[in-house]
């Protein structure tokens, strides 16, 4: 006969122990999940993806009274391509950041939260890429194999075009600057002229130089063309010359020419 009374104490002990452990574990897990959910996402909203899905779900009936046709497939394809481009950018960012972040994590410079956010972003991107590939294959067989190649080139081209544009935007600034500079140099030069009559031979040489240049450039081929620019050296040096170096500049220009032709 088992003595229930004497067993009651250890049983109660076990019950309390297991119960408290279970409660603790479930609470802990819930909190952890909540914390993970409340972590800020790594990337901002995926605009291209939003647009793609918005297009897919563009409801013809909900638009206006007049019947609007369904979104044509070509538009959807374009949207998918845009989405793939943005995906490539994000995958690249993640790949670049991973190394640095893991080093920082090992040293304890960044918290665990950041790493978790990163891992989640990575997993999401993986799924996103898979999703894009399968959608591409659904539009046209085998497109999935090349869509990311195309998207990669598109991203790089976009970056390159951006740079071109940046450079071209500086043109106006440069032009204004040079105009100003040139007029100021010219003014000082004219002043110099008025002050000093001896500078007249130099103005002659200035008028001569265009003729010299044209005779030089006559046989110019692209390879030789570098020499033709040399011809313009003299007058430019004259224009830029300041009072002190005025006398020396013509010879300096000639020296330059000789070296350039070597």
């Amino acid at each position: 006969m088992v003595n229930w009374l004497s067993l009651a104490v250890p049983l109660a002990y076990l019950g309390v122990l297991i119960g408290s452990l279970a409660t603790f574990s479930s609470l802990y897990r819930k909190r952890k999940a909540q914390k993970a959910m409340s972590l800020e996402p790594w990337f901002p909203a995926h605009l291209q993806r939003d647009i793609y899905f918005s297009l897919l779900h563009l409801d013809p009936s909900s638009q206006s009274e007049k019947k609007t046709p369904n979104v044509p497939e070509s538009v959807q394809k374009a949207a998918l391509l845009r989405r793939a481009t943005e995906d490539i950018r994000r995958v690249m960012t993640l790949r670049n950041q991973k190394q640095a972040l893991s080093v920082l994590l090992q040293r304890g410079s960044v918290g665990d939260d950041l790493w978790q956010r990163f891992m989640r972003a990575e997993k999401e991107m993986e799924e996103e890429v898979r999703d894009v590939v399968s959608e591409a294959n659904a539009y046209t067989p085998n497109w999935g194999q090349t869509i990311f190649q195309s998207a990669n080139e598109m991203m790089n081209n976009e970056i390159y075009r951006q740079r071109i544009k940046e450079h071209e935007d500086t043109l106006e600034e440069e032009r204004v600057w040079w105009e100003k500079k040139r007029t100021s140099v010219k003014e000082s030069f004219m002043k110099e002229l008025n002050e000093d009559e001896t500078s007249s031979p130099q103005t002659q040489s200035q008028t001569q130089s265009p003729a010299v240049k044209s005779s030089e450039t006559a046989p110019a081929t692209p390879a030789k063309a570098a020499a033709s620019v040399q011809g313009s050296d003299d007058d430019a040096v004259l224009v830029e010359a300041d009072p002190s170096s005025n006398q020396a500049s013509p010879s300096g220009g000639k020296k330059k020419k000789g070296k350039g032709k070597k």
Partner: protein, 268 residues
């Protein structure tokens, strides 16, 4: 406020895992006090058939934009609405412009309307650019610099508007040459700022093996009496070209001149 939409891609609602936040959507959820969950009415396969082969049956969260499509031109726009701030409106509109441009490019392609793989390249455009370059070179040789610049500009425009999916290395190579040549023509007209920008574009497109363009950058800057900058660019060019290389000789010669000029200016 952005309406949140749950997109059900397959009618397997029962097996759907709990909502997974994607990208920024979670943040939006938290920011919105009362979020609007719309379930699209047509998740039977009526309106779009292609993605039904999708394997994953998960709920994807995304922000629904009330887009509008012009029935004639198929251009997608976002109608003005008070729900978006101006910046939001602008970003979406910019993106939609990109999308419409891309769409026009896709439509001009052959039937499957997908971009071909980056290689091989469609030779038509390259041939046209080469032709333009040839005639521009001819004009340059005849000292008709203005005409040469005009033709180079045409060629450059064609190069810049190459469709995005063609390899970027090709575009860089081609444009580096064209910009370099146009810089040369600009310099012949003594248009230094224009020449400088073109030469800079050329070296930016192709830093290696582009001595002439480096030289032109230095030359233009020196002509505009910006010796310090010229020195910087020439040093960089020499570094990329290799100190002892034959091709770096001209750069070194110009650098010597620039240094002399610099000394003269500082001495004055």
């Amino acid at each position: 406020m952005l309406p949140q939409v749950v997109c059900l891609c397959l009618p397997q609602m029962a097996e759907c895992p709990p909502p997974r936040a994607f990208g920024g959507q979670l943040a939006a959820t938290r920011r919105n006090d009362h979020l609007q969950v719309e379930i699209p009415l047509h998740f039977s396969e009526d309106s779009y058939s292609p993605p039904t082969t999708k394997m994953a049956s998960e709920i994807d969260l995304y922000n629904q934009y009330p887009l509008h499509m012009d029935p004639a031109t198929k251009a997608i726009t976002l109608p003005q609405s008070s729900a978006y701030t101006t910046t939001q409106q602008n970003t979406v509109t910019n993106e939609l412009n990109e999308l419409n441009t891309l769409h026009r490019a896709l439509i001009s392609l052959d039937p499957p309307n997908i971009p071909p793989p980056p290689l091989p390249v469609n030779p038509k455009r390259s041939a046209q650019i080469t032709k333009l370059r040839e005639s521009a070179n001819a004009a340059f040789r005849k000292n008709n610099y203005a005409e040469a610049i005009r033709l180079y500009t045409f060629a450059i425009d064609m190069g810049v508007t190459r469709p995005g999916w063609e390899p970027v290395t090709l575009a860089r190579e081609e444009l580096a040459g064209l910009y370099g040549n146009r810089a040369q023509a600009q310099m012949a007209l003594q248009a230094w700022p224009e020449g400088l920008v073109d030469a800079k574009l050329s070296v930016d497109s192709k830093p290696m093996g582009n001595v002439k363009a480096w030289w032109r950058v230095g030359k233009c800057l020196a002509e505009m009496t910006r010796y310090e900058e010229a020195k910087g660019f020439l040093n960089k060019g020499i570094e990329l070209e290799g100190q002892g290389a034959d091709s770096a000789k001209e750069l070194i010669a110009l650098l010597v001149d620039v240094n002399a000029a610099l000394k003269r200016v500082q001495g004055a």
